[in-house]
Each structure stands twice: as structure tokens, then as C-alpha cells.
Amino acid sequence: MDSKKISKIIPIITVFLISLSFIGSASASGLLASPGGFNVKFTGGPTTYSGTVTVENIGDNTLNVVVNKKRMQKDNVNLIFSDIGIAQWITANPSNFTLAPKEKKAVKFTVNVPANVNYFDAAGALIIDGYSQQSLNSSSNSNSPNLQIQQVPELVVPIIVGLPGPIIESLQMIQHSAPTVLLSFMPGDFAYQLNNNGTVYANITGNIEVDGLLSKHSVPIQGGVFPGDNFTLTSQWTPDFLDFGIYDAKTTINYGRYHQTQTLQTDDKIFVIPVWLILIIILAVAIWFLRKKDIQSPIKIKIERKK
């Protein structure tokens, strides 16, 4: 081969190789999002937060991009999405669009945080999927199975609603009620209306110590209240047959987010009238009345010894 031919072929080969390398590296399906997450500060009351996430097609295939909004639960082994909680607070626009290679799109979203937040619902995410516009080849000329799988790059952009500032554990007892007089076997209701004026969920434990002359009872109480919420904690105590007299009902409510170290206390007096005492009184009154009036029994029972 002479040098002229070689000099003609070399540029052609070079161009071919360059083209080949571009084909090999450029056809990935890919997405980029910035920023990679959002933290919404929540100070109580209805709050609206707006943000923008920029989505870019970093591959060489035109993609149909779908943006979904979900509640997210994530740890080291689980990534679970659902449609409750924050998923219903988020709106995203646009949620469906086409991105050519290297093209960007700004996706605006709004989070309408309600006044009372269940913090288990407060972690969400925008789920951004890029579907290739080219469908899979459904035809196969072979007599064997042919396997094709569409690849979808997906970006999860977390939107986290959280409280700023210090953690404040605080419960206020607005009012409470306790029974004053009870009969045996008659249930008495205790009610404590609580307001969480702190910044975190309050787990509540505690008991009502009902202390009488001859007996003592402990009634457990349990509950929880979210920040800003009012909650009525209720419990019940029923005196036994032998309970009677004045009882001291001392209620201790322990609360806290993780450790119930804060305390609220109330003290009430309950007078328990036993059924047997009522029966004795009724009987005594009846006997006293009969004797006073000298009322003879209409029935006479004569007991004789057997002969």
C-alpha cells in the first residue's frame, strides 16, 4: 500500500474511532437534581413552604420525566414510600415533562404544613423518574426467550419537615375532674384535659393512687399528645365490695418525649359508700320503723318440737 492511500485511510479510521467512542460512552440514561434535599422549619400553625429543584438530563436519551410526591421512611435497609401524611401536603409543578439530553427544568413545589403535625408523617420526598422515550423491542425472531429490561434512573429528593430550636417538653393541665361520691361497683371517671405547649410529642405514663382507710388501689394511665394539641386523658376506678370511707386519689402524670421525667400532680377526695352499709342502714331503718309502730307480722310461724 502506498503512502498516498495510507494518508487517506488514516483520517477515516480516526474519525470512525472517535465516533465509536462517543457512541459507547454517551448513551446512558441519567438524571441530576439540585439541591439534593430540603429541610422545612416548622414553628407551629399552618405553614406554607415553597422551593425549586432543578432536574437535568445528563444522559444522551430523551427522557419522559415523572415527578411523584411521597411520604418517605428510610433507614439502612428499608426505603418505603406511601401516599399519606406529607404526600398530601406537597404539590409539584410540573410533574410530567420531557427532557432532551443536557436540558434542564425547574420543578417548583409547595408544602402546606397543617397546624397539627404528626411527625411520623413529616418526612417526604419528590421521586423523579426518567423513562426513556424509546420503547423496548417487543419482537423476537428466535425460538428462545429474549430478555429486555428498561432502565429507569430515579432521584429521591427528601423534603423533611422538622422543628427548629430546642426541644421543649411541656404539658399544661387545663382542667380535670374526679368523682366525689361513689357506691360499691359504681365506676368513677377521671378526666384530665391537657395541652401540649412544648415543641415535641409528649408520651404520658402515670397512675392514680387511690388510698383509703383499709385498702389501696393503683390505676395506670397512659397516652400521648402532639405539640399544640389538646388531649383529654381519661381513666376509671371502680370500688370493690369492701371499699368504704374517704379515699385520697392522688394522680401523678409523667410525661416526656423519650423519658417521662416531667410531672403533673392532682389530689382529689372520694367518698365511697359501700352497698353492704346501705343494706344494713335500710334494714336497721326498717326494723326501727316496725318496732316503733308496733306493727305485727301478718304471718305467724310456730316452731314445735317433734313428739
Binding site: 439540585s34 418505603i80 411527625y119 428498561q150 419537615v161
Partner: protein, 198 residues
């Protein structure tokens, strides 16, 4: 050599000549150019402009098959229904994931359907993967499973590529034809926090 009176008269003559030769327009133009060029030059020399840019956290993921052929859809080709596991080694000629994120990410994967759609649906338990932090072959499911735990950020200007091995078994008796499914590779920032006060 000019004496002072001669020099003054000479300059007057030159100025008159210039004015007479209608060079006034040119002189004025030159004066304006000098004036406008002096002002910004002066400003540039007497002040500094700080340039600040904030770089946001960015997450990115790309998936390609066989160097990007077939629009990056994974084409495992035509296989025999012999109940033998076929291995598709990851890399430039197989499956690979690329991250251009500027922060550590977790990469999760799942499939859209519990079986490959086709004449005789193939259970997804026959389709497995390994790579990144998943050292042994693990079956795909319709639930997210982590494949890249705490995958480091990409070096500046150089996205990082990771091979992903795929394994597929075609059960005996699977009829000829095309079988399809969809696989998701999902990127989320590794430090994505839970609510601050749950």
C-alpha cells in the same frame, strides 16, 4: 530653535490649521474616547469585586448497558430455557452505574413487576444482581433494596462508574418470545435526615 513668543505663535498656527481643516470632529471623538476609557479604568484600579458562589448539594445517577447501546435498555439477548444461571458481568460491556453526585449517596434498586411479562412470565426471583456494596448475588424484588450504601461523592470533574453484575435463570419450559420488565436505580443523599423531632 524657537523663542517663547515664536513657540506660542507656532502653536496657534497649528491649532488654527487643525480647526480650519475640519478636524474638530475627530478631536472631539478622540476626547470622548479618552474620557470614557479613563473612567472605567480608574474604577477598576481603585476597587475589588469579591466573587461568591454557593454550590448546592447535587445528586445524580446514570445507568447504561453495553456502553449505551439500545438506548441503555438492558438486552440480555436470546437465552435457553435450561434452568441454568446466566451471568452478565458488569462493566463497559455490561451493566454499569455512574454517579456524578457531589455528596455521598445511597443507591437503591427495585423492579416494577414481580415477573418478566411474556408468554410464560418468569418470576423475578430468577433475576439477581451484585456490585457496589452488595457483594453476593441477591434477587431483585418489587421493594427497594440497597445496592450502594454510602457511595462516595464523585471526584471533581470525574464521575465514578461502578459495574453491576446481573444473573438470570430461565426456568425449564419457558416459552420462546420476548420478556420485559423495568428496573429502577434510585439515588438519595446518604445523610437524608429524619424529622428533627419525631
Amino acid at each position: 530653535m524657537y523663542l517663547l513668543p515664536d513657540l506660542v505663535s507656532h502653536l496657534n498656527e497649528q491649532v488654527n490649521k487643525m480647526l480650519n481643516k475640519k478636524n474638530i470632529v475627530g478631536i472631539v471623538t478622540v476626547l470622548f474616547i479618552v474620557l470614557f476609557s479613563v473612567v472605567p479604568t480608574f474604577a477598576a484600579q481603585s476597587s475589588t469585586q469579591p466573587v461568591t458562589v454557593t454550590v448546592q448539594q447535587t445528586i445524580a445517577i446514570s445507568a447504561s448497558w453495553a456502553g449505551g447501546a439500545n438506548n441503555s435498555a438492558i438486552n440480555l439477548g436470546t437465552l435457553s430455557a435450561d434452568n441454568m444461571q446466566n451471568t452478565f458481568t458488569g462493566g463497559a460491556t455490561g451493566e454499569q452505574l455512574t454517579t456524578a453526585s457531589n455528596d455521598a449517596i445511597d443507591i437503591w434498586t427495585k423492579v416494577a413487576s414481580a415477573s418478566f411479562a411474556g408468554a410464560d412470565p418468569i418470576a423475578i426471583s430468577n433475576f439477581m444482581y451484585s456490585g457496589l456494596s452488595q457483594s453476593t448475588a441477591k434477587a431483585f424484588t418489587t421493594n427497594y433494596a440497597i445496592i450502594g450504601n454510602n457511595t462516595p461523592k464523585a471526584p471533581q470533574g470525574n464521575p465514578t462508574t461502578y459495574p453491576v453484575n446481573l444473573y438470570l435463570t430461565i426456568p425449564y419450559g419457558t416459552g420462546a418470545g420476548t420478556y420485559t420488565n423495568t428496573v429502577y436505580f434510585s439515588a438519595v443523599a446518604h445523610n437524608a435526615a429524619a424529622p428533627t423531632t419525631p
